[in-house]
Subunit: 305 residues, 2 copies
Amino acid sequence: MKTLHEAIRPTIFLEPQKLRDFLEIDLTIATETFQHTGSFKFRAGYNLALNVPNDEILTASSGNFGQALAYACKLLNKKCVVVMPETSAKVKIEAVRNYGATVDLVDTKSVGRNERVAQLAAQMPNAYIASAYDDLFVIDGNSSLGDELAPKDFDVVIAPIGGGGLISGISKGLCRNGSNAELIGAEPLLGNDAAQSLKAGEIIANESEPLTIADGARTLSLGKHNWEIIKTGVSEITEVSDTKIGEAVRLYFGLANLKSEPTGAVSLGALLENTGNFKDKKVCVVVSGGNVDAEIYRQILKTQS
Amino acid sequence: MKTLHEAIRPTIFLEPQKLRDFLEIDLTIATETFQHTGSFKFRAGYNLALNVPNDEILTASSGNFGQALAYACKLLNKKCVVVMPETSAKVKIEAVRNYGATVDLVDTKSVGRNERVAQLAAQMPNAYIASAYDDLFVIDGNSSLGDELAPKDFDVVIAPIGGGGLISGISKGLCRNGSNAELIGAEPLLGNDAAQSLKAGEIIANESEPLTIADGARTLSLGKHNWEIIKTGVSEITEVSDTKIGEAVRLYFGLANLKSEPTGAVSLGALLENTGNFKDKKVCVVVSGGNVDAEIYRQILKTQS
């Protein structure tokens, strides 16, 4: 049984000259697009499946966490059930199934996802109910990325924020390695609950699921465990328009040969919102994942910047 | 002044689980898409610019070699002139110019590219005339990739063939490190001169520039220096249909999060042509570069596999 550090792939650092010249910034990309299952979520899923005593794990996810947890459970011989909306892209449902998990399709018009998880939990008394972000095992798993970033001595690290699982993990990893890097969150403007929360000093939730193109950040609010870290570990949260997110996806394609999913590009989007703030600094943008449907990607590439 | 090994970025090895499961092959990707200037050609261009005594270098290239040589000359403070057809994509012309080279646009209907190079050579008596593949400095530069592949103990390495610069370099690198890997060339079926040459035991040329989607392999024939290595160092050359090349680009996108240019995907295309031959073998496919126009990429993604 592999430890977390043995199981994950190290992040890949890129320093694309064309993009650096275009932005006139000392930029490094830390990309998790080549991590197992195509996103940083494998760090979380593996650490969770490795450390909970339960042999069964239950989660609700239409995206990267479902794939990551399914693959982690396959590697660790645990049973995994993933609740997904029946409207999920077929390719995502198949991906979770191919990793060996049971997919529970739910008609979200008649039953809420959390409600369905509660139903299943009653049927699976021995199962661990896993949140994709609000869980200490998840945060610890993601902190391994902070361990990799710390020795690079960046002045600034920018990471996407949805539920806060990634950035709270990075914060924890940076802190315990004595890093002085400033940690900035990048959040879609259409779902700016984390930015509001940081200003207000308490968790503020979106009224409904934000319809940003960054589908990995369509969360109602930060998790409580994440907030405890974010409220002191994150210096600011930049609100990024969907226009800038699309522009960032295109810049990665054209000037870095990098396929990023929209959520992965929110951190570069934050840099585009305030390029002037980052001159003369050594900046790292974290690309959280690369899993995007071909048709959505084609649409983004088509849009003129 | 950096040595070749200091100047290049090591290739990036990927082992994407989804693609491995789909193919049922022990597959590793060696991708040069994140090399400086986005393709392996930087290895060639830098080694050439570093080692020729001339302060001026002249070449004809509408593609990756032009960018690579331009950037190498910028790093080494040499003058670089790149002859390009005036019909070249603007983004490619701009890329060469942004690396500081002089672009000489030629109307290929009235003057051939080689003719134009000869005209310019007469005006630049101190210039070195660089071939993108038929040059010992080019081969030596590319051999650095063979050095990186050799220690991995692959049973089979598959690399794209156009003029033969890449595969002859890989062969040289593998040989001098005592590698036993079988080296297979992957060539577009529409321009199968190298496959014909290997069968005939002598260089056979295409009658005209082949109109394959793999624009980096639109060469008339192998170079002489390349042929001397290929005729003994390459075991076979697989002819790959443009359909399979497109399929390979889509597989990289969907199952490996990798943006490949069509030419870069020809090696995976060769594997798709004969998947059964590679079971139970440790296979490496070389992705030569990632520079592809967004509109062409969108068209490839759109095509159903």
